[in-house]
Chain length 482, copies 2
């Protein structure tokens, strides 16, 4: 993506509004929050991802000569405004939750503080990047959870929604917990493990299946997974694979890993039959891998049915998040700085109460149970509020304020999860490597209770508002009711 | 995309298989077909798109020094093979159905004829590009059909699956029939109309809604669409818009287009009420535009309910094809050239008869009813078969051979729809502009009967096999049954 100039990757209305602010000279510093309203796939949590690409995008923001020339030809922008654009750079502050962190609905995962012209321009690309990668990282975490410790390989490039969806989807999948990807460019760009063996066409291009297997085993003795369903899995594929494994054994070749891959038919039935055949032939350590339209629900079910599969290749359903192919991140105005330099909270009301925003300059504290290290709740408050964990903490549900929880002093810990990323236009954050983020994400998932991780009807983690934030919001709503 | 080097945008197994063919010196010329098995969204047809990007990809194919270096570090490729890769270029032939053409399941939309090492490498990227753009073009055609002549704007960038999905999705949406996109970079790269006005944040950044509208109208008097749902659509938004329209009228300003946009609430109810208010105020030509989680089904229903909307902004559901976010294009071996230079048909059998491939070196004739110009059927045959339209044509369903249709000589016309794109590695095809493709696509949709275009339970267009192809396929299947 860094090779692209993505400055024009924005909605036209961002530019028409920018020109509006330019003309009216209303370029106050404002705060926009990126947040989402629901976890995808009816899950109990989401995974933050995409920040490194947001950072690259912000760093590279500039209108090239060709960009300005193109905008001029649209006939709606003044020369003064185009001149301003040609010198444009981002001068604001950005705070974000680091990649790999578990995140919940309603909380600001990114906060942009900048003159409104700048803050408005970056809306679309930030949402595009974050919505995509959070979606795939979150979907992957579900698939990985269903596999109960088995490895999940990301295989979806050919069905991804374009090259970037394959590339950054693979990145997000690694963050979410995949052990590798088939995508070679992702391997190169993000330094993550790449995996893969052969396709049906390999088998079909030889005179018979046995010859194709034998040649493959000769070429790749170290990692020899044979695809057994080109002709007939149990009558032809598995017996031919066993014949080749025996020949390898007789020749004294000990592969680091070897086994078979099933890619069609009933995977529960075929894997159990194949397991028996492999065991009886003296290959109890041969791995049975499976692919073919898998997702977390099918893997969950196959596990329940005792399928003898311990390695899973997941394609279309993961790389597109097929049952929920969009992450609903939005970008909403939260405050405008007045002449005294104070941020005046702003709110967007809506006929749908779920869509009402949280006003002001906010941060998020994550509250952990001290004993277990598990998340008790997230608390959204104003940036200048402070807490003392030796004192009792009163939490209440902002939608049902009578639902109260009191955490005794000393029973909990707190951690501020929004981190500075840009300050006055300078990047102050160094992205970890993708594999470091993946390791951190694994720890993060361990801070969730199992009840939150389950695939169906998970327990929701509370995201509460501080008393001061709640009062401010209520007052604003009262003042705006017609 | 051209700025990227996409050569490594492939599955690792393509490269391990390539090395396999390199080592075994089995580099026969083969034929691979790209085809799909079902129209997305349970529709009656699909739209071809993405060919221009496939052409760019093939033209730019080369392993850079860094690419080879990365592959070397994986430790699975020999120096001889890496040396071969460093001099790699595509030397084969590619045939394809032009973009904007209506296409049907089972027919080869792209045919690659090349030495197997080259043909194998390009599988993943070709599928990635074609699957994405066909998906979005096809989804768009459905949405456009539902709107019965109203304009559809593509608004989905922020929810697209990454930058390319937004960019090439917008391209495909224009091919499928959108009148414009909000995506400025797509506008610049593909020379297509860009559209957009302002967001809720524009309204919220002024002291009140009226002032925000007034300022917007002052800045953009020519094209003034006001977003009326920030506070209360009927009590505040529409009256304030009318006030501003009156002031424009009094000042003698005649906008080329003006109106309001609804973005929440019940669009049928609100649009009818707003229409009445605008008409009574003397603005019968004010356009009512709508957005908010629209898709073809909701637009269809709103039309049925008499919603007074004539312009539609469609985002998430179009740009992700939400109800069916992948197009199932596959890439299957159809033939291998023998030492005599003949293509020997190959077939992949499967427990699922729907997945059995069509063997051999094939082309497709589209058969039209001479009187109406509508499509009667597509006929897949071997490339050396010829037809005389003055003679009777016998068509039969390959899955139910007793279903026969006889077209009398002179009652039909035929057109070969697969066109040469690369010959001996040289591109012989010039892509039309996106707007030219869009115009051609509009004509193409007119060759479909209404029964095929409808949203629910459409009539399927027959894709038949020639007698010779059918016999070859049957013989191959018989010879392979165990």
């Amino acid at each position: 993506m860094s090779a692209h100039n993505l400055t024009l990757l924005t909605d036209l209305y961002e530019l028409t509004m920018m020109q509006g602010y330019f003309e009216t000279q209303e370029n106050e510093t404002v705060i926009f929050d990126v947040f989402f309203r629901e976890n995808p796939n009816k899950g109990g949590y989401s995974i933050m991802a995409g920040l490194e690409q947001v950072i690259e995008y912000i760093k590279n923001l500039h209108f090239s000569y060709e960009d300005v020339d193109y905008l001029r030809k649209l006939g709606i922008f003044s020369e003064d405004f185009l001149h301003y654009l040609s010198g444009f750079h981002f001068s604001g502050n950005i705070y974000a939750i680091p990649e790999g962190t578990v995140i919940f609905p309603k909380e600001p995962v990114i906060k942009v503080i900048a003159p409104i012209m700048e803050a408005q321009l970056v809306e679309t690309a930030i949402l595009n990047i974050i919505n995509h990668q959070c979606l795939i990282a979150t979907k992957t975490a579900r698939v990985v959870f269903a596999a109960q410790g088995d490895g999940i390989m990301e295989f979806g490039l050919r069905r991804a929604q374009g090259p970037d969806a394959g590339l950054y989807g693979a990145r997000a999948a690694m963050i979410g917990g995949c052990v590798g990807t088939s995508n070679v460019l992702a391997g190169k760009m993000f330094n993550v493990p790449v995996m893969g063996t052969h396709a049906h066409s390999w088998i079909m291009s030889f005179k018979d299946e046995y010859t194709a297997f034998k040649e493959y085993a000769r070429l790749y003795p170290d990692s020899c997974t044979l695809l057994v369903d080109t002709y007939d899995t149990l009558k032809s594929g598995v017996p031919n694979a066993i014949r080749v494994f025996k020949e390898m054994k007789d020749a004294g070749i000990k592969p680091k890993s070897y086994g078979i891959r099933l890619d069609s038919g009933d995977l529960a039935y075929l894997s159990k039959k194949a397991r028996k055949m492999l065991d009886e032939a003296g290959f109890p350590d041969a791995v049975i891998a499976a692919s073919n339209d898998l997702d977390e629900l099918l893997i969950h079910d196959l596990k329940m049915q005792g399928a003898a599969i311990t390695s899973w290749g997941v394609g279309t359903n993961l790389i597109t998040s097929k049952d929920c192919p969009s992450f609903g991140g939005v970008y909403k105005l939260a405050a405008i700085q007045n002449e005294e330099g104070e941020f005046v909270p702003k709110i967007k009301i809506s006929e749908n109460t779920e869509k009402i925003t949280n006003p002001g300059n906010k941060t998020i504290y994550r509250i952990y149970d001290k004993e277990t290290g598990k998340i008790r709740a997230d608390l959204i408050c104003f940036v200048d509020e402070t807490y003392d964990t030796s004192e009792e903490l009163l939490l209440f549900d902002p939608n049902a304020t009578w639902k109260k929880t009191r955490l005794p002093g000393g029973s909990y810990t707190m951690r501020e999860i929004l981190k500075p990323v840009f300050i006055h236009g300078e990047c102050v954050y160094t992205s970890p490597s993708v594999m470091e983020i993946a390791a951190y994400c694994q720890q993060e998932k361990d801070t969730l209770w199992d009840e939150t991780k389950r695939l169906f009807y998970p327990h929701k983690v509370y995201v509460d508002l501080s008393k001061r934030l709640y009062d401010t919001k209520t007052k604003l709503l009262d003042s705006m009711s017609v």
